[in-house]
Point group: C2
């Protein structure tokens, strides 16, 4: 018997929310961070370690999977869960973001987008209906409508046009989803409107009327300053239904996540922990470390003994420094795992703090720890999309 | 209390031997295959998986570790076992082979070799004494004498000169080892002499007189035909002490291993399983598969359901094909793990067969399985050194 999709709000602390998402493949504790499994793999990680690190749900990229190995092929092989050896919930994006950022020779019309693959130049067509069809072929528990995400800064007219188009595509996505989806699957509408608060409100209200299973906030973390992003979130959330989960797409740094949870966001995804891991960077409760730096060459200490994860505990910084310098794959394997474990520990800390009514203290403490260390490191961008 | 080094012969079947090596870090079941942990990591593998795959002992490369991160640094950090998170036995080579094959501007004298690092051009000196000193700093359970391995084909005069030099270096290595080693550690002498059987005999007899803890057969698997290699092994083994372990360096394919065990060899190392894994190749009981091939794109079968290892069992060939094509690190991670598990299963099969007195049947069956499949694949070289 397949579980129906359901979101249960368990506690609030200010605007911060503690909840649970029931999906056909299990429960997601929110606020949740979803590691990104771009092309059917969370890069350099075994799914067993993703799970053990505390992740309840993964994100898959529709654009990558439709091009290679192909959605129909994944369906014939039993769906994405089986294909990638992950039996927990999977959320897929619509593919629209990567069509805009990675594909070649795009032509956007009311109908959809025609584009060329960045892999082999082959021509593909993406419409709201085809995006949902692909996500259903993959078997995603949570699916996204196709939307148009304009690059910031954009003119108000351009932002409004894309937001309105995204609303029409939401209607078509919803109809396709109702026709094609399996019991218990969910579809989220995506709020657009750039940094124009009234457009965000209009988008959120229109989507709320469509009674989607949840709502995404799209078009942020694309290069705008953090305070602009946060103000836009704050201007959007009040117009989203209280009883539905809210997902901020492609965000972000630990700081971004804390400040967005504070504004009522429930779900996040970002390539940052795994990408940083492949570049020799480690997240710890003491801040971010660049293992490439010679200062670590003789350091016998583990990354973070307080983090209950083998890569944080069982290897010296000196060893990790050596692996990074020697360009050994094990460096990416250990640091990606550490970073996902750190992100999931951050979410667990957030959830605990909300349950205890001390989210503000937890946020302040954690930001303070990070700011102390980040003075020594390069500033991070809020953006971390694939 | 540290265990003394000891080799126990438990059974024989023809010239094939079943045994156990006791070392300060535990027991090694022989015939043994040692995965290669070149620069302090078995490439793309967690040590937990190396162990679970059935490996009792790893090989570390002195040349790589002396250059980066440096032997003194590893010693300060508690030794190689702790450094690389492996608490089982470690065997190290002398560094000589890589000095000859990788380093720049080598000058060989009676004293030793002066060479430039292939990494940063820095000058280093390697003598029999320094090699043992480095291996003791790393804390290797089983250490190798420095030898000179000439490239084949070589003139008899050149082969004899290198063999005689290696014998003088063995004496010096032995003296250094007696001075520097920790209780329970072992040093192996290395038989040289190219493919000249009388030189091999002279080398083996002279080394036997030095009463080393074990003996290596060096200078093979460097490009010579397999039958020449096997004939040289057969001409060497009778002059090695029955009660000491015999290690064939840098070998080899599953076929090489079976035919060498048949001739009385107890230990092997080779980069083949991990290197093949990084190149999309998988060893199975049905032969070697090239996962890059399109024939696997829709194959829902696992690599080898009979192999008790997660990478052989939990993922479809279609998925592995996808990962290889997409150049995902997980491809190398899963295939390296599978291949080490296969090699260790092969050794377990060999040990079981010797114990049951049916080594010949096991060898014939296994060779037959491999030959059937290998008609479709590229021929393998016997050589697989780093």
């Amino acid at each position: 018997m397949t579980n129906p999709f359901a979101f249960t709000l368990k506690a609030t602390d200010g605007a911060a929310r503690l909840g649970e998402l029931a999906t056909p493949h299990g429960v997601v504790r929110t606020p949740a961070f979803m590691p990104v499994g771009t092309a059917g793999t969370v890069k350099a990680m075994f799914t067993e370690h993703v799970r053990a690190a505390g992740a309840d749900i993964l994100l898959g990229n529709t654009y990558h999977l439709m091009l290679r190995p192909g959605a129909e092929r994944v369906a014939r092989l039993g769906g994405l869960h089986k294909f990638m050896h992950w039996d927990g919930p999977i959320l897929t994006d619509s593919g629209g973001f990567q069509v805009m950022s990675l594909a070649k020779l795009r032509t956007l019309t009311e109908e959809g987008v025609v584009f060329q693959s960045h892999i082999d130049g082959s021509r593909h067509q993406m419409s709201p209906e085809r995006s949902i069809e692909i996500q259903c072929l993959l078997g995603a528990d949570i699916q996204m409508q196709l939307d148009e995400c304009v690059a910031l800064p954009a003119s108000r007219a351009e932002t409004e046009r894309a937001m309105e188009l995204s609303l029409r595509w939401a209607e078509r996505s919803r109809a396709a989803f109702k026709r094609l989806s399996a019991p218990g699957q969910a579809m989220f509408g995506i709020v657009q409107g750039g940094t124009e608060h009234d457009l965000r409100e209009r988008s959120a209200r229109a989507l709320a009327a469509m009674d989607c299973e949840g709502y995404s906030i799209g078009g942020l973390a694309v290069g705008e300053p953090q305070d602009v992003m946060l103000a836009t979130i704050a201007a959007t959330v009040p117009f989203l239904p209280e009883a539905k989960p809210r997902y901020l797409m492609g965000v972000g740094t630990p700081q971004d996540i804390l400040l967005s949870v504070e504004r009522g966001v429930d779900m996040f995804d970002c390539v940052m922990p795994t990408r940083a891991g492949r570049h020799g960077l480690a997240y710890t409760w003491g801040g971010k470390l660049n293992l490439k730096n010679a200062v670590h060459a003789d350091d016998p200490n583990p990354l973070d003994a307080s983090l209950d994860a083998p890569p944080a505990r069982d290897y010296s910084r000196a060893y990790l420094h050596h692996l990074v310098r020697a360009e050994e794959m094990l460096a990416a394997m250990l640091l990606s795992w550490n970073n996902v474990a750190f992100y999931e520990a951050l979410m667990a800390g957030i959830r605990r703090a909300i349950a205890q009514g001390r989210f503000q203290e937890f946020k302040a403490e954690t930001l303070e720890r990070f700011e102390r260390r980040d003075g020594q490191a390069k500033p991070e961008s809020a953006s971390g999309k694939v």
